[in-house]
C-alpha cells in the first residue's frame, strides 16, 4: 500500500524524473540520422550555408517547444535570439574571447530575460500571448537600438571575433560547421528527452486543455514558465551561434518583422514534432536562400504560402509523410492478420 502511495504522481516529483520512454539506441540512431543528413547536405550546398541552416533549425526547435508542444504562439521569439546574440557578442567584446563562455553568456542572458518577463507573459493565452511577446520584442529592439547605444553601438552593431577553441580556429568553415552541428545535436537530444518525459506530456496536456490539467492538481503556471524559459534559453543559444557564425551582431537580430520566418518554418515542417521542425527549418532556409533571389515580391509569396498552409496543409511536411506511412502500414498489418 505504502509503495503505491509513493508512486502516485505529484506535481514536482515526476517532473524531475526523466523516465526512459526512449531506448538509448533509438536516440543514438536519430542523432546519427540528423547529423548524417546535414553532413550530406554540406557538400551539395555550401558548408557556410548549411551552418546557417543548422543554427536556424535550433531556433525553430526552440520555437516548436513553445508553439508545437505547449500550444502558445509567440510573435516575439526573435527577442530571445537577439538577447542571445547580444549576450554572446558583449561577452566577447568586453569580458573574454572564449566562444564557449560567450555561448554560456548568451544562454544566461536570454534565460534571465525569459525568467523576468515570463511570469507576465505566460498568464495569457492565444492572441494576447502572441501580441505581448511582440510588444516585448519591440521594446527589446528599441533598447538595443537606442537606449543601450553606448554598449551595443546601436545600428552599427558589434564585431564578434572569438578566440580559438583549444587550438581549433572557429574562423575556418568546416570547424564552425562541426561546432554548430554539435550544438544542434545537443539541442535535439535535450528536447527529445524533455518532450518524451512526463514533463513533456504535461506541457502537451496544457496545450489540449489547461483547465483540466489544473484540476489534476498541477501548477500549470510553473510548467508554462519553465517551458518559456527553456525555449528562451535555446533561442539564445541559436542567437549566440548566429553572432559567432556571422562575426557580428546588430539590431537586425531582434527585428520583429522576422518573427514570421520561424512561424512559417514550424508550420511547413509540421508543428509539435522535432523532425518536423528540422525539416521545416531546412526547407524554409532553402526557399528563402534560393527562391527569394528569383522572386521579386517575396513577402506576397510568403503570405500566400502561409495562407495555403493554414487552410490546406496544416499537418506540414512531416505530418504528411507520417500519414502516408501510416496508410501504407495499416493494410499491411491487416494482411498479416488475415494470412
Amino acid at each position: 500500500m505504502k509503495k503505491e502511495a509513493e508512486k502516485t504522481p505529484g506535481p514536482m516529483t515526476d517532473f524531475l524524473e526523466f523516465k526512459r520512454h526512449l531506448p538509448k539506441e533509438r536516440i543514438l540512431l536519430e542523432l546519427v540520422i540528423v547529423a548524417g543528413g546535414f553532413v550530406l547536405l554540406a557538400p551539395i550546398l555550401k558548408v557556410q550555408r548549411v551552418t546557417d541552416f543548422m543554427i536556424f533549425c535550433i531556433f525553430v526547435l526552440s520555437f516548436d517547444l513553445l508553439y508545437g508542444y505547449m500550444g502558445r504562439l509567440s510573435f516575439g521569439h526573435m527577442l530571445f535570439l537577439g538577447a542571445g546574440a547580444y549576450g554572446g557578442g558583449l561577452c566577447i567584446r568586453y569580458i573574454t574571447k572564449d566562444p564557449l563562455l560567450a555561448i554560456l553568456a548568451g544562454i544566461v542572458l536570454a534565460g534571465l530575460l525569459a525568467m523576468l518577463i515570463g511570469p507576465i507573459i505566460v498568464r495569457t493565452t492565444g492572441a494576447c500571448f502572441a501580441l505581448i511577446n511582440l510588444a516585448f520584442n519591440q521594446v527589446g529592439f528599441f533598447l538595443v537600438l537606442s537606449v543601450l547605444r553606448k554598449i551595443t553601438k546601436g545600428e552599427d552593431g558589434l564585431g564578434v571575433v572569438p578566440a580559438g577553441l583549444g587550438g581549433l580556429n572557429l574562423g575556418s568553415r568546416p570547424i564552425m560547421f562541426g561546432f554548430v552541428l554539435f550544438f544542434l545535436l545537443l539541442t535535439f537530444y535535450v528536447l527529445r528527452r524533455v518532450t518524451t518525459s512526463p514533463y513533456g506530456y504535461l506541457i502537451r496536456s496544457i496545450k489540449e486543455d489547461e483547465t483540466r490539467v489544473k484540476f489534476l492538481g498541477y501548477n500549470t503556471f510553473l510548467y508554462k514558465w519553465l517551458t518559456y524559459v527553456l525555449a528562451g534559453c535555446l533561442a539564445g543559444l541559436a542567437g549566440t551561434l548566429n553572432a559567432l557564425n556571422y562575426g557580428y551582431v546588430n539590431p537586425n537580430f531582434m527585428d520583429t518583422h522576422r518573427n514570421v520566418d520561424v512561424v512559417f518554418a514550424v508550420l511547413i515542417g509540421g508543428a509539435g514534432n522535432l523532425y518536423g521542425s528540422i525539416i521545416g527549418g531546412v526547407v524554409y532556409m532553402v526557399i528563402s536562400n534560393y527562391l527569394a533571389i528569383y522572386i521579386p515580391r517575396w513577402e506576397i509569396v510568403l503570405g500566400m504560402a502561409l495562407l495555403i498552409l493554414v487552410f490546406r496543409f496544416r499537418q506540414g511536411i512531416w505530418g504528411y509523410v507520417r500519414k502516408k506511412g501510416a496508410r501504407r502500414s495499416i493494410p499491411a498489418e491487416i494482411g498479416v492478420e488475415r494470412g
Binding site: Y67, G71, L73, F75, I117, I120, R123, T124, T125, G126, A127, C128, A130, L131, I132, L134, A135, F136, Q138, V139, F142, L143, S146, V147, T256, H257, V260, V263, L267, R297, W298, E299, I300, L302, G303, M304, L306, L307, V310, F311, R314
Partner: protein
C-alpha cells in the same frame, strides 16, 4: 505643457479610432486581427492617391479612403476569418498576419517604400495667450468625442448595436434566440475597419506615411484594448486617451521611449489584472 496635453489628446483620439475595431473583434470573435493594420494603411494610401484628383480636397478624399476599406474588410472577414472562426485562434492569427504581409507588400509594389509627406489640411492655428495650437488637432479630438457619443447611441439604441452588446456578453445565448450572430459580427468587423481607416487618414497629416506604419500602431492600439478591457467600449475610450497622454508626456522628456512606455503600462496592467481568453 498645454501643447503636450493637446498632443497627447490627439494621439489618444487616433488610438481610440483604431482600437474600437480591435476591441470589438476581440470581444466578439476572440480573434486578433493583424489585418487591422492593413486597412489602416490602405485608407491612408487611398487618400494619397485621390488627393491630387480631387484638387486637394482632404475631406472628400478621407470619405473615399474610408469607403474603399469596407469591401476589403468584408473580403478578409468572409474568406479568411469566418472560415477559421471557432477552429483555432493560432491559425486565425497566422492567417491575418499573412494577409497583412501580402497587403503591405502590395502597397510597396504599387506606391513604393518612400515615405510620403502630407500637409495639414486646415493649416490654421489658434493662438491662446502665447501658445499656438493647430486647429486640426483640436478637430481630431472633437471628432473622437463625437464618435464616442455616436457609438454609445448606436450600441444602446439601435437593434444591431444591442445584438452586438448582447453577443459580447454571451454569444451562444444570443444565437439561441435565433439571431444569426455571424452576420452582425461581419457588420461590426466592417465598422471597426472603416473607423481604423478613418483614424489612419486623420493621423496621416501629422505623421510620416510609409508601408510599415501599421505595425507599430497595431501594437499601440492592442495595448489600449488590454488596458481598457476587451470588448469594453467605454474602457477603450478612457484608456486610449490615458495612453495617448502617457505617450506625449514621455515624449516630452525622452522622445524615443514614448512607445516603450505604453508597453510598460500594459505589462503593469497585466500583472495587476491578468487576462484569460
Amino acid at each position: 505643457m498645454i501643447n503636450t496635453i493637446i498632443y497627447g489628446l490627439t494621439i489618444g483620439a487616433i488610438l481610440y479610432f483604431i482600437s474600437i475595431g480591435l476591441s470589438l473583434t476581440f470581444g466578439t470573435m476572440k480573434i486578433v486581427n493583424f489585418a487591422h493594420a492593413l486597412v489602416y494603411t490602405v485608407g491612408i494610401y487611398m487618400v494619397i492617391t485621390f488627393l491630387p484628383l480631387l484638387k486637394g480636397n482632404f475631406w472628400v478624399a478621407a470619405l473615399i479612403g474610408t469607403a474603399v476599406v469596407v469591401p476589403i474588410s468584408y473580403v478578409i472577414e468572409r474568406f479568411i476569418i469566418r472560415r477559421l472562426y471557432g477552429e483555432s485562434l493560432d491559425y486565425a492569427i497566422i492567417a491575418t498576419y499573412a494577409v497583412l504581409l501580402i497587403g503591405v507588400d502590395a502597397i510597396k509594389w504599387i506606391w513604393g517604400v518612400n515615405p510620403y509627406p502630407m500637409s495639414d489640411p486646415i493649416g490654421k492655428y489658434l493662438s491662446l495667450g502665447g501658445l499656438t495650437i493647430p486647429v486640426y488637432r483640436i478637430l481630431i479630438v472633437v471628432i473622437a468625442v463625437l464618435l464616442f457619443g455616436a457609438l454609445n447611441f448606436f450600441f444602446r439604441k439601435s437593434i444591431v448595436g444591442k445584438i452586438v452588446v448582447a453577443a459580447l456578453e454571451d454569444k451562444d445565448g444570443v444565437r439561441c434566440l435565433g439571431i444569426k450572430v455571424d452576420k452582425y459580427f461581419s457588420v461590426v468587423f466592417m465598422l471597426g475597419s472603416a473607423l481604423a481607416a478613418l483614424g489612419g487618414i486623420l493621423y496621416a497629416p501629422i505623421t510620416s506615411i510609409h508601408p510599415y506604419m501599421g505595425f507599430t500602431v497595431l501594437l499601440l492600439s492592442f495595448s489600449v484594448v488590454i488596458v481598457g478591457g476587451m470588448g469594453n467600449l467605454n474602457g477603450t475610450f478612457v484608456s486610449a486617451f490615458a495612453l495617448g497622454l502617457v505617450m506625449s508626456f514621455t515624449a516630452r522628456y525622452w522622445s524615443q521611449a514614448a512607445e516603450t512606455m505604453v508597453f510598460i503600462v500594459m505589462a503593469i496592467m497585466l500583472i495587476i489584472k491578468p487576462i484569460e481568453i
